[in-house]
């Protein structure tokens, strides 16, 4: 029995050069039909919305660093802020879910963090700050990558917690470590969850408000710390990402992407010269 024919030029196959696969003859009518139709593309608005959702997650990750910088460089007292944020999170959870919040689970997390925060603080104290920044940077990169690849995986959560634990050693006191942990979990795990549920329930306006608030906080902070120059750079990159990149995506989809299954299988590979 000979091997089935493959549509690959670089393979040495036991078929004559002018061999025509019977499948092709069967499907050639449908292929012509597909060729006559114009290439379907996604709508620009939908692509922009998808890109901005991803941008929003990255922004949330950035808020971790905002919190860290506030605690580490500006010696901000985090207690009142944490209490406020936590109560707010509870309120939102109660209001939007209309269910009893899982008290046990939250208590376990809070107490574990209380117990472990001194350990976490001393864990990498002897490691130099440079190493910590590098490790944290890589972990953040992996975190973004894991969000990009599969959003509902628990790997991203784990990488986030590891990142926070690494950063925690640079903080001053145990209270700071505890508050930082709590803030990070609320911002990066609970906030995206709430936002997604907002979208799912079509509370679009509320979602838009949160999105704007996030942006506002992040850019205000960047402006305060680094100056308007950086705000301009970050803002321009964000706008490029959200508004320009979708255009390019649609261009790519129109010219190169073959969504039709017959086109996928039988299209003539034209070299693109421009």
């Amino acid at each position: 029995m000979t091997k089935p024919w493959q549509r690959l030029l670089w393979l040495k196959q036991d078929y004559p050069d002018n061999y025509t696969d019977p499948d092709f003859l069967n499907e050639v009518a449908k292929l012509q039909e597909a060729l006559s139709e114009p290439q379907k593309t996604s709508s620009y608005a939908q692509v922009v919305i998808d890109f901005s959702l991803f941008y929003h997650r990255i922004l949330n990750t950035g808020l971790t660093y905002v919190a860290f910088t506030l605690l580490h460089f500006y010696h901000f007292n985090p207690i009142y802020f944490t209490i406020g944020l936590t109560s707010f999170a509870f309120l939102i959870a109660i209001i939007y879910h209309y269910t009893t919040v899982q008290i046990k689970s939250s208590l376990i997390i809070i107490f574990t963090m209380l117990i472990l925060s001194p350990v976490l603080k001393s864990l990498s104290k002897t490691t130099s700050s440079d190493s910590i920044w590098t490790i944290s940077c890589w972990l953040t990169a992996f975190y973004v990558l894991s969000i990009f690849l599969h959003t509902d995986s628990i790997t991203s959560t784990n990488i986030l917690v590891a990142n926070v634990a690494v950063l925690a050693s640079r903080l001053e006191s145990t209270t700071d470590v505890f508050c930082f942990l709590l803030i990070c979990i609320e911002i990066n795990i609970l906030l995206p969850y709430v936002e997604q549920s907002l979208l799912a329930r079509n509370y679009n306006l509320t979602y838009a408000i949160t999105f704007c608030l996030d942006n506002l906080v992040a850019y205000y902070f960047v402006a305060k710390c680094l100056g308007w120059y950086y705000v301009f750079i970050f803002g321009m990159s964000a706008i490029t990402f959200v508004l320009v990149l979708p255009r390019y995506f649609i261009y790519w989809q129109r010219n190169y992407y073959k969504s039709d299954p017959y086109l996928c299988r039988w299209d003539a590979k034209k070299p693109v010269l421009d």
């Binding site: 574990t112 864990l123 995986s153 628990i154």
Partner: protein
């Protein structure tokens, strides 16, 4: 093809003896026994064992009178049984046969055909071994009484002398006393061995001295059995396994004695003889070495004590103390976790100080070392150098106990940490081990489980280098302590089990230690010479090569490296190691009551 075995001693000494007579044993080839004259051959008509197969013609050539034309002559030197020479198809075993079958040794020797397998060559070799006996019976048949008993047995002379002097009662009393003494020594040795091997404590696996005592007592238990076996073949040759001396029923005994003349081969028990005298030689050697070493030790007591005091205090206390303290302070610039490193370092420093002040300082005191050396030298003089070595090994392991303790503690911690980290790593990727199906499955964890697990995992990752540094340094320390111990133990093994007697036999008379036969083609057609291949030196030292292989496997192999990386503790498996060397001793010593019966039974009637 017909094989005819031709003894080289059957010469053409008599001009008229030209008729070739051969032995026709069942399932064996023809074995030429002698050349006879025509008159003598006539006397053999009745016998069916001996058969005329041909004659010698005028040119001193053998002319066959057999039906088969295709014949092949194999010349051989008949083995002298009284000199304990014999041929064997397989190399004789220096280990006990039942031990040789055990997994380790048989794996090394490879697939040997089992000795019970029958074929013509084996039967022929058996007949060749009994050549002189057959010659005697042939001569008896033809009435040419040969010099059957060249020497008068020593025992007969002794008895005659005793009779002469009226010393018989005294002799028997002496014999009685000897029997009681043997029984006493045997039961004592057996008790000692049993105590040392007593299961829940199993001293043998801990201490080299216990092992040495156990070896000696087992040897003492086995001596009477071995002696009876080599002197009184007829009684014991039916006994299998060799560790048991079942007392024969009188009828069976008779039968055995009857068969002994022709059916049972005395050479079967020559390996026992070799083993017995090898052990005795080794013990004597051991004691004589011991005298030398003991005297040397006793003479240079003070100098040795000072040397040991200085160096051991340095290595076992100061150096270890320094290393442990150093590990607590970011060694080699590696940033360890400060708190944990400090804690571990403090813990180990405390153990070092404690053990030093409680016993190491007292033992390593110059005067107490002198006492120890004098004890060791006396032991060496009385019991042999192996006892001195084993005492040294034990003393070393006692003195390095704190290092072993560190090693075990750090290995345990490291192992636990790795184990926990593996489980948490599964959690990190959202997986979980399924115990029922023995595989790793995906699992959705709750948020609290996730956060807790990840926090712990991160902690473990950061603590791992600290524990690993402690673990690696103590493993290295432990290995350096183990090396001299292993060296001494190998030396002990060599002294205890060196195949000295066999080596000497190899020089003196290689045909006493047959390792198989070979046929060499002689010049003319269809003529071969049967030759004895003595045991090779490598096969004599096989237990050692096995032991060395095991040591290499235990201490420097990839598997061991893996074990070290995983954090499994590495221990001396002394018992397992010496199993190879115990190959010349039965597994269980013979019961005293059986020995008593055997000794009584062996009395001359």
């Amino acid at each position: 093809m017909k094989y005819i075995y031709w003894p080289k001693v059957a010469g053409f000494n008599k001009n008229d003896a030209r008729i070739v007579v051969a032995l026709q044993a069942p399932e064996s080839d023809l074995i030429v026994i002698s050349l006879l004259t025509a008159r003598e051959t006539k006397l053999l008509q009745k016998s069916n064992r001996f058969k005329r197969i041909g004659h010698i013609d005028g040119n001193n050539e053998f002319v066959s009178e057999l039906d088969e034309k295709d014949i092949c002559i194999v010349e051989f030197w008949p083995p002298k049984l009284n000199l304990m020479q014999f041929y064997a198809l397989e190399p004789i075993s220096l280990a006990l046969p039942e031990k040789a079958d055990s997994t380790l040794l048989s794996r090394a020797t490879g697939g040997q055909p089992s000795p019970t397998e029958k074929f013509q060559m084996r039967e022929s070799i058996n007949s060749i071994n009994l050549y002189y006996k057959h010659l005697q019976s042939l001569r008896a048949l033809i009435g040419r009484a040969g010099p059957s008993n060249r020497g008068i047995p020593v025992r007969r002379i002794a008895r005659a002398l005793a009779d002469l002097c009226g010393l018989l009662p005294l002799l028997s009393a002496l014999r009685q006393a000897l029997t009681y003494m043997i029984i006493f020594i045997h039961s004592f040795a057996r008790f000692l061995s049993a105590v040392l091997n007593w299961n829940p404590l199993c001293l043998v696996s801990f201490s080299a001295t216990a092992q040495q005592i156990d070896l000696r007592s087992q040897q003492f238990c086995y001596f009477p059995v071995q002696y009876l076996r080599i002197t009184e073949n007829a009684v014991f040759n039916r006994m299998r396994p060799r560790s048991e001396l079942s007392v024969c029923h009188p009828k069976e005994k008779q039968e055995t004695r009857g068969n002994a003349s022709a059916g049972v081969f005395p050479c079967e028990y020559y390996p026992d003889y070799i083993r017995f005298y090898n052990t005795i030689w080794l013990i004597v050697n051991d004691v004589s070495f011991g005298l030398t070493v003991g005297t040397l030790l006793a003479e240079n007591k003070l100098r040795i004590a000072k040397f040991i005091n200085f160096h051991l205090t340095d290595y076992l206390f100061h150096k270890v103390h320094y290393i442990t303290a150093y590990l607590g302070q970011n060694p080699l610039g590696i940033k360890l976790n400060g708190e944990l490193a400090h804690f571990l370092s403090e813990l180990f420093l405390w153990i070092i100080d404690f053990s030093y002040s409680t016993y190491i300082r007292r033992i390593l005191d110059v005067s107490s070392i002198q006492t120890v050396i004098s004890i060791v030298s006396r032991t060496s003089c009385c019991f042999g150098v192996t006892f001195a070595l084993s005492l040294t090994v034990d003393l070393m392991s006692v003195l390095s106990m704190h290092i072993s303790l560190f090693y075990y503690i750090s290995a345990k911690m490291y192992h636990w940490q790795l184990h926990v980290m593996r489980s948490l790593l599964y959690l990190f990727w959202g997986k979980k081990r399924n115990l029922l199906r023995k595989r790793v499955d995906s699992n959705m964890f709750e948020l609290d489980q996730l956060v807790m697990g990840t926090l712990f995992f991160t902690m473990m990752v950061f603590l791992l280098p600290t524990l690993a540094v402690f673990y690696i340094s103590f493993t290295a320390l432990r290995m350096t302590i183990l090396m001299p111990e292993l060296l001494l133990e190998s030396l002990m093994a060599l002294l205890n089990h060196f195949p000295l007697f066999v080596l000497l036999l190899r020089l003196k008379d290689p045909s006493r230690i047959p390792g198989g036969v070979s046929m060499e083609a002689l010049g003319s057609k269809n003529r071969f010479a049967l030759q004895n291949n003595p045991l090779t030196v490598s096969s004599m030292f096989r237990p050692y090569s096995l032991l060395m292989g095991m040591m290499a496997e235990n201490y420097c192999s990839v598997a061991t490296l893996k074990q070290i990386l995983v954090g499994r503790p590495i221990t001396i498996k002394r018992y397992k190691m010496y199993q190879v060397l115990y190959s010349a001793l039965p597994k269980v010593p013979i019961a005293t009551s059986k020995l008593w019966e055997a000794l009584k039974g062996s009395r001359p009637s």
